[in-house]
Symmetry: C2
Subunit: 253 residues, 2 copies
DNA sequence: ATGGTACCTTGGGTATGACCAAAAGCACTG
DNA sequence: CAGTGCTTTTGGTCATACCCAAGGTACCAT
C-alpha cells in the first residue's frame, strides 16, 4: 500500500487555486449584505468578540475586516459601552475622499479641476432648475444671503462653496452632488490664501450667483445651464491667468 | 503637603482633548509622505517587523495602518519573500470603486447615472478635440475598429466602454478620466443583460462614435461637444423608456 | 556538468491571550 | 436627592507563536 507502480497511467492533475485572505472574505460578505439592504442603515453589527465565536476567526481577522469596511465608509465604529460597528450608507464624503486622493496623488493641476467643474456644474444647475423643491430654494437663498462682499476671505470662500454645493444637491442627483462636493472641497483648500480673489471678483461672483439662482427658481433649465457655464468660465479664466504665472498645484489638506 | 486649602482660587481647567488612534496616526503620516512625493511610486516600505521596531508600535497597529492605505489604493501589498508594501499612486480605479459603492449603497437609479454622464462626457469630448495626440487618435481608431454590429452582446458593450474611456483619456484630464472610468464600469455592468440594445441601437451607436471621432480628429471642439451630447442624449432616452417600465436599478458587481 | 528537488530565508497572514481605554449604567454615599 | 465613583461592555493595543507564500541556494542523482 505504500508504493504505487511507477508506470501509473493517471498522473495527478490539479488546477491552480487561489486562497483569498480571510479578512477579505468576511469583509466582502458583510459588504454585500450591507449594500443589498439586508442590514439597514443604523444596524449594529455584533461585537467583535461575538463575531469571533460566530465566524471561528481570530479577533485580528475580524478587526481587519471591520477596518476595511470603515475605510470604505460602510460602517462607523464607536468605542465604549453600547459601542460597536454601525452600518452606514456610503455618502458623498467617501467619493470626495477618494477624489481628493486622486487629485493630490497625481498632482493634478488646479486648471484641470476647473475644467472638470465646467463640465459637471452646469449640468447640476440644469437639473436643479428642473427638480428643485421649496427646501432647495430656501437653502440657496440662505447661501446667497450669507455671502458678502467684504468679510474675511475665509467666510467668503465658505459661503461660496456652500452655494455651489446647494446647487448640486438641488439637482437631486446624489452622484453629481457627491462629485461636486469633492471638487468644491479641493477648490476651497486650493483657493484659500490665493490673492486673486479681490473685491471685483467678489462682486462679480455674487451677481452671477444671484442670476443663476433666479433661473433655478424660475425653472428655466437652459438659462440656468447657460449662466452657470458663463460664471464658471469667467472664474476659470481669472484663475488661469494666475496659474500661468505661478503654476498653482493643489496643496495638501 | 498632602492637603490643599479648599478655598484655592485657581480651579484646574483642562481643554477637551482628543486622542487619535495609533493606527490612524501612522496611516496619516505615511499617506502624507506618499502624496507629497517623498516616497515615489514603486518604493517599498520597510517590512512590518521593521516598522514595529522603528515606530515602537505593535505589529497589529502597523498592519492596520497598512490595511487602511491598501484600501485607499496608496500601497499594494504582496506576500512571500521580497514582498511587502509597495507605494502606489491612487488611480482612477479607487475613484471607480467608491463611486460604485455610492451607487449601489444609495440605490441610485440608472437614469441618474446617465444624467451625470451627460454632463461629464461632452466635456471630455471637447477637451479631447483640443488636446488629443496621435497616440490618442490611434487608440480611438482601434476602439472603433473593434466595435461591430453583430457579435455577442458582451463584446459590443466592452468595445463600447473602451471607446468612451479612450475619449475620456484623450482629454488629458486625469480627473475626468477617472470619473468616467467609474461611470463606464457601472454602466457596463448595469447594461449587461439588458435587452434594449438591439441591432438598431448598435448601428446608431457605431455611426455616432464615428462622427464624434471625426470631430476630435479634426480638432473641432464645438462639434465634438455637440455630437457627443446628442449621442448620449439619444442613448439615455432609449434607456429611460425601458426604465419607466422596469425600474432598472444598478445590480451588484 | 546539469537539472531537479529539498531546504532555508524572508516576508506577510492568522490565532491567542492579556491588558488598556472609553462610555454607559448603576450603586453607594454625603 | 445629587453627585461621585465603581462596574460592565466594547473597541484599541500589545506580545508571542505559528502558518503560508515565494524567492534563493545547496545538494544529490544522473
Amino acid at each position: 500500500m505504500t508504493s504505487e507502480p511507477a508506470t501509473a497511467a493517471k498522473p495527478v492533475r490539479l488546477a491552480p487555486m487561489q486562497v483569498p485572505k480571510a479578512s477579505d472574505v468576511l469583509a466582502n460578505d458583510l459588504r454585500e449584505r450591507i449594500l443589498s439592504g439586508e442590514f439597514p442603515e443604523g444596524t449594529s453589527l455584533p461585537p467583535e468578540r461575538d463575531m469571533v465565536v460566530q465566524t471561528q476567526m481570530s479577533r485580528t481577522t475580524v478587526r481587519e475586516a471591520l477596518r476595511i469596511l470603515e475605510v470604505q465608509g460602510l460602517v462607523r465604529i464607536r468605542t465604549g459601552r453600547s459601542g460597536g460597528a454601525f452600518v452606514q450608507r456610503p455618502g458623498g464624503d467617501s467619493v470626495a475622499d477618494s477624489v481628493s486622493l486622486l487629485i493630490r496623488g497625481r498632482h493634478i493641476r488646479l486648471a484641470a479641476i476647473f475644467e472638470a467643474r465646467e463640465g459637471i456644474e452646469p449640468t447640476c444647475a440644469r437639473l436643479a432648475a428642473k427638480y428643485r423643491t421649496d427646501a432647495d430654494l430656501a437653502r440657496l437663498a440662505a447661501a446667497n444671503a450669507a455671502i458678502s462682499g467684504d468679510g474675511p476671505l475665509e467666510d467668503f470662500l465658505q459661503a461660496n462653496v456652500d452655494w455651489h454645493v446647494a446647487v448640486a444637491e438641488a439637482s437631486h442627483n446624489e452622484l453629481l452632488a457627491g462629485i461636486m462636493l469633492a471638487l468644491s472641497r479641493v477648490i476651497y483648500t486650493a483657493t484659500d490664501n490665493q490673492a486673486f480673489v479681490d473685491a471685483e471678483v467678489r462682486r462679480t461672483t455674487i451677481r452671477a450667483h444671484a442670476r443663476v439662482t433666479e433661473a433655478i427658481e424660475a425653472g428655466d433649465t437652459e438659462a440656468a445651464l447657460r449662466r452657470m457655464t458663463r460664471h464658471l468660465h469667467k472664474y476659470t479664466e481669472a484663475i488661469s491667468e494666475v496659474e500661468d504665472r505661478t503654476a498653482i498645484e493643489v496643496p495638501g489638506g
